[in-house]
């Protein structure tokens, strides 16, 4: 499958400070890549390099097969970019602004109106199209920024913290939009909200101090999330020795009265047997949940370990 983005060994120095250190990755069609990292990790710098706003100190970027330095116009034709601060001309109306963007991206004159209408519809801007951007709320301005990025139907869409400043309903709408876009485009999304990555991305990369410290698909990540631990709550106190006797159970940990954590081997999930045993013994099962490591835990563990 043709790669939409191929970034190889990117470095970026600001003076002697190294903001991005040997970052390489690829993005294929139909992938939504989540770019995670704490503040100042190099997310925005990487994105600016991908969009040609910043030249890498060394390394190569190809967008849809076109080298960003050798054939910038062809490469940028396939690119839609929403920077962390949406680039909006505040004294234009939404319609005027999108029209200008369409012209800049070289959309043919006869299809500009159509393209604008689709973008407005997708971002829910139809009702505000004649208002001045300066008078719109932060959320709507963010949506205009997104509309601008998807206007010319680019192969690659790069969104830098797209849900900042939106209310929960708008966030859900934007996430749906991102998943929808991910079906027939390649999307890169930077964020520091971890659930956002879990919900809308197919791949995740964690960047810390300019280095990629994790590059994994969400499915692969979910596997590492499973810790082999079940949380069980019963009405009556269970007999620990009976539970320990169940095959697969390795240890017990009492959390509170009648609330225990059962650790088990990853290969052998004893949940079913445990439930049957508790019910048969008449301890009245109230809760049986697999305990999962959250993205936060992984994130913190990874960033800590690379610090030390």
């Amino acid at each position: 499958m043709a790669k939409l983005i191929e970034a190889e060994h990117l470095y970026r120095y600001y003076g002697r400070y190294c903001a991005v250190n040997d970052v390489s990755f690829t993005l294929a069609k139909g992938e939504v890549l989540g770019f995670l990292g704490p503040n100042g990790a190099g997310k925005t710098t990487t994105m600016q390099m991908l969009c040609g706003n910043l030249a890498p100190s060394s390394g190569q970027i190809k967008i849809n097969g076109f080298d960003l330095l050798d054939q910038p116009k062809l490469a940028k034709r396939n690119l839609g970019y929403l920077p962390d601060i949406p680039p909006l001309y505040k004294d234009l109306s939404v319609q005027e602004f999108l029209h200008y963007c369409a012209q800049l991206h070289g959309i043919a004159n006869n299809s500009i109106v159509h393209a604008i209408n689709i973008a407005k519809e997708r971002c829910g801007l139809t009702n505000v199209s004649h208002r001045l951007i300066a008078n719109l709320s932060k959320g709507f301005q963010q949506r205009v920024g997104i509309a601008q990025a998807i206007l010319h139907n680019p192969e690659v869409i790069i969104l830098d913290e797209p849900t900042v400043g939106l209310d929960p309903i708008q966030i859900r709408e934007i996430r749906n939009l991102i998943s929808e876009l991910g079906q027939d485009h390649g999307v890169i999304l930077s964020t520091h909200i971890l659930t956002e990555v879990q919900e809308s991305c197919s791949h995740v990369q964690i960047i810390h101090q300019g280095r990629l410290i994790l590059s994994e698909s969400i499915a692969g990540l979910n596997q590492t999330i499973n810790t082999g631990c079940l949380q069980v709550t019963t009405r009556l106190t269970p007999d620990a020795s009976v539970l320990l006797a169940i095959p697969g159970v390795s240890s017990l940990e009492t959390m509170a009265e009648n609330k225990i954590r059962i650790h088990h081997h990853l290969t052998n999930d004893p949940a079913k047997t445990i439930a049957e045993t508790i019910i048969a013994a008449g301890w009245e099962l109230l809760e049986l949940t697999p305990v999962k490591k959250s993205m936060e835990d992984i994130f913190i563990a990874l960033t800590r370990s690379s610090d030390s």
């Binding site: 600001y14 600016q48 969009c51 040609g52 706003n53 910043l54 030249a55 910038p72 116009k73 062809l74 940028k76 034709r77 690119l79 970019y81 920077p83 601060i85 680039p87 909006l88 001309y89 505040k90 004294d91 234009l92 200008y100 963007c101 012209q103 800049l104 991206h105 070289g106 601008q148």
Partner: protein, 252 residues
Amino acid sequence: MNMILTIASREFKTLFLSPLAWTVVAILQCILAYLFLTQVETFNLIQPKLASIEGAPGLTDIVVTPLYGNAAIILLLVTPLLTMRLICEERRNKTLSLLLSAPISIIDIIIGKYLGILCLSLLMVCLITLMPLSLMIGGELDFGKLFANLLALLLLVTAFTATGLFMSTITDHPIIAAMGTFGILLLLWILDWATGMKDQRSELFEYLSILRHFQNLQSGLISSVDISYFLLFTATFILLSISSLENDRLQK
């Protein structure tokens, strides 16, 4: 080419969305109209005396040349204000990345911006030219001289605008861009004054002075030296702007 026109027309329209362009044009017209009327009045007063002198200066010399001279000085003050926000406001509002990530080259951006603002300057020159043309109602004009003046002012604004564009490209603050432009232009304007002192003349300073070339053209002497001075001046600053914006991408 298409992209240049797109950027230029957007820039030109944006100028008129804010009161800035309107205010500048209105004030410029107001002041110049007043100066124009005083010149016409002066001409009326001295006309009987002039009639008796052989080869006396005509209407064009007494009214039009000073008008364009004054216009040049006022434009020296006004152009920095118009050009200051060209690139640096885009940079401050972070809208520059919209242009940088679009499939257009930096040359397109700079030339588009330049043409956009140049249109406003040309508009002002046209409005100024309407004043001497109104004299045709009751008098006769030396069209050759009027054309020379017009050409001089046109070349002057292309040079002023290019300087302003460059200063706007290298700074982040509109005020600094305006001050820088004003400083450069004023220095080049008065460079000629120093050479007049102690009857020691510096060929280099004389060549560099904007005023000298402007006055040469104004006097009706259209020489290729003066015209190429202005064209070189403009081209230099546009090329510097392009390389400066290019540099922005390489190192921040």
